[in-house]
Assembly symmetry: D2
Homo-oligomer: 268 residues x 4
């Protein structure tokens, strides 16, 4: 279980959210509240959009709380759309390639949760990678694999549908492999303009996810950044958010489980 935040709005310095708030993401790296592991010390990453179509990324293997580079970058870099992530490994190694966010072209993705029984189902999931994304696979995490299984053409036309279908396929592979552990998924996805956030689990324990709008600026987080929790709304389980550059937020259904049942039923 990891912690993350995504921001879309007027340009702000990353530190405004990443390190300055009372319960900032850096604070959550050693003292998370709403997850099983209080410590998220297995690496971190930030990704942001600037002058180019593709985002900048800084990922490293130290705990976020002790990385001077992170502090300096978050103080200097301002962006209107950025991700930040602190990692608690569910088994894979602490390496830069296993740190979020992941990037492919102008798309960026990060994730909290896990594919239950990853070692058993990994081969099937990696076999789902399209040929033109296979070489982008650098690490060994389930999270990177989820992102790369999504076809880019499909992503461009229907991001939420593309992500749902990717999870349906993975869910079916888990069922076929006899995995009993859950698939849990709180994730953020962007093409540098639209921001999508997802909350889903195959059981009744989806990872927490909250969002807040202040002056048209939208922040989505694993857990609220301040203690009073003022203005933070929970994202409903099995739903997604689509956040426009203008600050408009549209809730969308994200019903992986039913879709998987339908497909499975039809196959049966």
């Amino acid at each position: 279980m990891c912690r993350w935040l995504a921001y879309s709005g007027s340009p702000i310095h990353l530190e405004t959210l990443v390190s300055q708030p009372h319960h900032s993401l850096v604070h959550q790296s050693h003292s998370a509240i709403e997850c099983k592991a209080a410590t998220n010390g297995d690496g971190f990453g930030v990704g942001w959009y600037g002058a180019h179509e593709d985002p900048g990324v800084y990922r490293d293997i130290l705990p976020a709380w002790s990385d001077d580079n992170l502090r300096s970058l978050c103080r200097q870099i301002a962006s209107s759309l950025f991700f930040a992530h602190v990692r608690a490994s569910t088994g894979t190694a602490t390496s830069r390639a296993n740190c979020h966010p992941f990037v492919a072209g102008r798309w960026m993705f990060m994730h909290n949760g896990q594919i239950g029984g990853w070692d058993k189902v990994r081969r099937r999931v990696e076999a789902m990678l399209p040929d033109d994304r296979y070489h982008l696979r650098k690490g060994s995490t389930d999270s990177e694999a989820i992102f790369l299984t999504v076809d880019e053409d499909r992503l461009v036309r229907d991001p939420v549908g593309a992500m749902r279908d990717a999870l349906v396929r993975i869910r079916l592979a888990m069922i076929e492999t006899g995995v009993v552990e859950a698939l849990r998924f709180a994730a953020a996805l962007t093409d540098g303009k639209m921001l999508y956030a997802f909350r889903y689990a195959s059981d009744d324990r989806p990872p927490t996810l909250y969002w807040r709008t202040v002056d048209g600026n939208v922040t989505v987080v694993s857990e609220p950044l301040d203690s009073d929790r003022d203005g933070w709304r929970a994202v409903s389980p099995n739903s997604a958010l689509a956040v426009c550059p203008s600050g408009e937020v549209e809730p969308l259904p994200f019903d992986v489980e039913n879709a998987a049942s339908l497909v499975e039923g039809r196959a049966a």
Copy 2:
């Protein structure tokens, strides 16, 4: 506040104490009980004596819980005298040079605690380093500085006295500088044969320290390695232990505070 363990006895693989027990040192790196910070994720180190007079050392900046090299080394390396340490920084950077244990010739040292007001008193403490040890200063921690201030000739003749006098000098420097924060010191020192452990604080909160003898093998730890705490005895505040290769353990006074008062009084 860090966590550490020291072992002297029949040769055993390091993993026997470092990673295998229920509440092993690696376990303490993310879930310490008896210290302010449960997380000791700012680097780690092991040091051991083998075929040579000088010890081997492996120190690195990842949290101990996620370091595959540490796991492999502790499984392979056996020794009759070794140290292991997981670090929670009190302000200085996470770098190999700031990780314990520290080595000078055949001497090895590790520490939990801190010199209060380190930034204010650092210059005076570093000025105490003997000329022939000055070039050994690699990092910026108070712990390394304490070790290097001790004159090696003095160490050879009277290790406990040498360490006490070093702390007395540091304590006086703190007083002269107007530092009000405490000096706290739970440390281990060895020349590859004798093992010395120390517990002291200038206030009434010395860091915890325990020891146990099983079949003539002695282990000294920041906190007991198993939940039943069977056989673990607390080291008395303001005292030291001298552990012989034979397994004999001699408690010794280690009265820094009185000695400092005496010196200070005499100076006044």
Copy 3:
């Protein structure tokens, strides 16, 4: 192109070969002579057999020339069978998971060379991994993939044949994919008792490989460790060496190219 050495013989400290000789492996990390890249600074690794069936491994991402841990470990650890490797990446990232040697159970492997057109052929090669080794895939290198494609049962019965067949399959995948770059392979393999070394290329430029026996102790290297090159013999292209614990060295044919042609011909 990387540099490596393998040793089988009476127990010696690793430093005897890794760092002490005039043109030691650590020296080769910044000043290799017989390869395109003089600098092999993209990580390193050592692996050795001790008290257990499975080897110890220490791998890290710094250049070998600047790693204090490596220096200390090589000074302390003695072994009768060990590998050491300094890496020059042919495109994949500098991470521990991409550093040699690779270990699976009691088997250990390291490699200099490359699968030409790796990005194009990677999917096919990874598809060759047996189910029970798939979860061992941690990095993204061609070298680790080669090792893991070899079936362990087959390895136990016929190590040289197993390795040859793995390369034949890879060679055929390269041909089918239309890869024109060469497959080059200078590698060492061991089960903790027997040491096997291989030299092969699909073109006429196999990586250099030498071996020497002194007092029944056998060393195999990418390039000789001393300037006078006294006693070093080149391993013939398209051949292998089998080194017994007793020090006996048996040259063996290792004819991947003909075998691949035969299979290809039969298929055509």
Copy 4:
């Protein structure tokens, strides 16, 4: 001996100089031409001024040629005043704290060269640090020490004079300690507005230093960034450059050696 570049002019992306030119600084990290060590693989750093008075810094211990973060940051970050440095250690450890550039408030500094006999003279040099800069000492390099010995008030009033006097004091300490090795110094210093570059050696082998003006934008480098060397002018030994934000470049005398002789003579 390290390699570095400094830029002052219209805002450009760092990659324009750091990684894109034919003989860019990243290229120099493995293939420097005009220095004893072709490989500058002992860490690197970039520092730049943005929205704040104080600069951003990214320093790390991998060789510059293999660091993906560096590549991404240099692609995204644009600045009108920045430093970049690749390090070849002259003896001190590879750690972030030993990587250039060094920062104190809004001042930034980087260096190629060395204080000869550093281990012998280090104590005297560190004793020169003003009280209010002593706590800024994080590493163990001569370069960081040189920077921190300079009094900040003096820096503000007369940067070139302050730097010269710092070197005079260090030179005298070397002479008094009986050091026969040279003091060599090619360095850049800035307060975020003015850029100063220095070239000096106590013997006749000052490190190389070049500068070029194109369209009012000034670049100062250890060695030219392209093979034709068009427009690059050598900085004269024992001189400094003062570069205004407007692009004006004023050569200045930087005569450490004579000043040191005078002081020494007066003392004799």
